[in-house]
Amino acid sequence: MWERTLQDLIRGLRANKKDEAKFIYKAVDEIRNEIKGDDMELKAGAVLKLTYLDMLGYDMGWASFHVVEVMSSPRFHLKSVGYLAATQSFNEDTDVLMLTTNLLKKDLGSTPADVAVTLNGLSHIVTPDLARDLSPELIAMLNHSRPHIRKRAILALYKVLVKYPETAKHARTRLEEKLEDVDPGVVAATVNVLCELARHNPTDYLSLAPQLFHLLTTSSNNWMLIKIIKLFGSLSPYEPRLVRKLQPPITDLISTTQAISLLYECVHTCIIGGMLQGSNGDSLARLCVSKLAAFIQDADQNLKYIALLALTKIVPSHPYLVAEYQDTILASVNDQDISIRMRALDLVSAMVDRENLQSIVQQVLSHLVPENSSSILPTAAQSLAQHTIPVSPSSARPHLSPSQSPAYRLVLCQRILTMCSQSTFENVTNFEWYISVLVDLAHVAAVDVGSEIRDQLVDVVGRVRAVRRYAVKLMYQLLSDDTMLRNAHEEGSCSEVLWAAAWICGEYCDELAEPQNLLPHLLQPEVSNLSSEIVAVYVQAATKIFGSWAADVAQRWEDDDLVEIKNVVEQVTTRFSELVSSPHIEVQERAANSLQLFRFIQADLDAHRPKPPTTPGFSTPSESGLSPEPRFPKSMYLIHPLSATYELNPVALSAQASVQVPDGLDLDAWIVPPPREVVPEKPPERKVKKLKKGKGKEVSEGKVKSSKKKQKETLLVDGDVLTPVESEMEAPEEIEERAKRKAERLAQLRDDPYYIMTDAPKPAEEDLDSIPVVRLEGMPSLAGPSTQALPALKTTSQTFSSTSFVIDRDGEMPEGAVASNPASAPISGQETPVESHTPTPSQLSKFPPYEVPDDVIRTSTPDPIKVTRSKKKGTGKKKRTPTTADVDT
């Protein structure tokens, strides 16, 4: 008698916000009692309350049987409560649904009001079983005398068809008849259903085209017209003749209709239905674009939004039409609504071509630049303004931009990068401009895109030869600017760009007039602020730059240079000795490797006597004939060839795949088998890498992509291969034995982070005795060629610069593979890049001593190692013999 009504429950809930759980617990308890009683009225009230709670998230699944009870009540107002509860709480797995079949059948034959409620409820709760059992009733009901029942039956039938498609063959004819129903509402409902059905199965409904076309041209019901247009949109791809037939009425609708939703539907269907192709398509496309452009200028944000969306779809086929509205579209990137900005950005990125790229990127970039004086609003106010919805669009004009939001800035940055880099820089005409954009981006981004920018820089510089000189210049500035270094720890500092800067300066340091000036920047202690990966690249770059500079100095040697060189070497060794104890293994390893080289140079410099030409233990330089007696310390040429012998080139995607696996090499075999057998597998592994690189004929093509890794390898290999050089006199068995022992030792030491340190001093002492002999022998011949090579490089870059940029799109293929495997790498422009490269390697490999017979080069690593090899003429071949043998085994 005193039961809570629904209203009481809601009021109670609102009054007990703090104690909701407790209140609901009590309420549900009461409901449990009420629902079990015999009083139908009370039961329905309880179910209604439960329905309300279910909407709040409190499950009412337990009461589903009672819901069915209420559904079966003969009283309409109770029945409707039951059906409402059913639509709210039932799902496919509700078991009591099996009990409802007869109930539904009965209700479908009841009074019109009951039938309406039942049809509505059925459309929600229908399951495949129910659909199968009730479809006859529904199909019969399509001919019901009352139009509003017919209408509902048609729509409910759609749900039945979705759940139980077999019904389609029985329902189809009836459904088609309904297109000619006397009641326009029934026709509209039929069109709705057909539109949905045709979307999944267009070919089946092509036969309806004449009737639909008739409706299209005669009806004035915009709701239905939208659906008809949509329906034709899904049909027209399967019946090309439809397109021509539809063009006139649609053009007519577009030009005359007042309803914007219909207009949009027409335009949209034209775009996705392929109606803009063909002879008449062009004028239709022009009409569409002009309508959409009008939308963009509309005050209504929704229209702007969808117009941008639609234009994005039209751009691929009719770029020139959209381009007319470029300014309007770019202005939308300034809109204060972030979602509109995003769509505008989508569109802008789709519009990009060779002509407009620069202006578009410049525009987008300007959004990243912090706005000056005009909008010095507290960021809190800005963010607030972003989140509260302005009262009316017109009052929301004040110039606060969401440009400050990091997420948005990130999107902007990534957009710029993708716009420029898509299809391998297809749209970039001026790469110097692009490089400067990248550098600007790194400065203004203030979000975390450093690594993307880094990859772009390296990619561009690797592929576009002509831009290298300019890139080196910019990178030099970047490296010598301390701000980025200082801010490296801040989020969004983009310090990864320094990685690229160091790498580019190191790799192309030949372009620098005075590379030694860069060294202090690379060696300064603040560098340790950067992440270890970058420090590692700094070490490598410093080494390369020194090498290049030293080689340069040696060419025009004055005895006064000795002091400067000594100073620099001193600096380098001091710094590297610090880095050798770095906690990061990568840094440590590189520093240790380079440190050994520099120690050697240091020793050589100390031993150098200005008194030229005779150096003890130095065999005659007759081979080279260019410089009879070097007056400079031989070690000046120690490092440069290590990095400059071969040029880095981008690698074609299929390059690795087209390298033939040599006979007898099992790539799936363990490199380091888990148990004991460490030894025998090890040498083959090294060969694998060598062979692949060797085929590529250039040192470390891979460096472009993953330079660190490769360089690390190179260094490791370098260390390893030194051994056989020393043991030149050893029999092959001994070499193998040594290799075995060495491999074992390495395996043991691998886990010890300090093994480099313990290792380092010893070889230094040993090598100092043995290696110089080796070195000096090869020295004069080394000197000659490099004199030619260096100027040669510089002149090439001069001829290139400021003329058209050549992009190396496809990358490099292994030489052998190009000939033998043309089918497997079907890149059309493949020939071109290969050709374009051939001059350069030949220039660079003008170091005669390295010109070990060609075939031999191809089978082994063209690594820095060779420097060591080449010194002893005989060694080269001898050493390689075991190598090839290893491969075969």
């Binding site: 629904l6 009225e41 009001a113 509402g185 409902a189 259903v193 539907e265 944000q301 929704n302 302005p390």
Partner: protein, 137 residues
């Protein structure tokens, strides 16, 4: 205040905004992939529709608007509380307007009349029951 003026005020006050999440974000918040969310705000009331990707956003907005118009007529200056306390009626009206996810009746007067008819029918029935009960007892 005449209802016409009221609805005019509502129309003015309502901020027409459409927000389409990217598919990914829709996944994070609501719904299934390949759908989009269209919403419209009327004063403090938000009407949110999740529709298929190929659906016409503007038409969805029109449907929402139609629904709100009928609600407004039915309740007389509809507000949040009407929908909370009489959610059942709000659903009845929605059922008149939309069946199986498709627009069933586009004429707002028809929707209103049948919704009112249903309402009267229910009240009548309740009244009849009550009278019967009192006479019998």
């Amino acid at each position: 205040m005449p209802s016409k003026a009221k609805s005019k005020i509502i129309q003015d006050a309502c901020l027409l905004r459409l927000f389409s999440f990217t598919v990914q974000r829709a996944n994070d918040t609501i719904g299934v992939p390949g759908s989009k969310v269209v919403y419209r705000q009327y004063a403090s009331l938000f009407f949110v529709c999740e529709v298929g990707e190929e659906e016409n956003e503007l038409m969805t907005l029109e449907v929402i608007h139609r629904y709100v118009e009928v609600l407004d007529k039915f309740f007389g200056n509809v507000c949040e509380l009407d929908l909370i306390f009489d959610f059942q009626k709000a659903y009845t009206i929605l059922d008149e307007l939309i069946v199986a996810g498709e627009l069933a009746e586009s004429n707002r007067r028809t929707v209103l009349t049948s919704a009112e008819a249903t309402d009267i029918w229910e009240r009548d029935e309740i009244l009849r029951d009550a009278l019967q009960d009192s006479f019998i007892s």
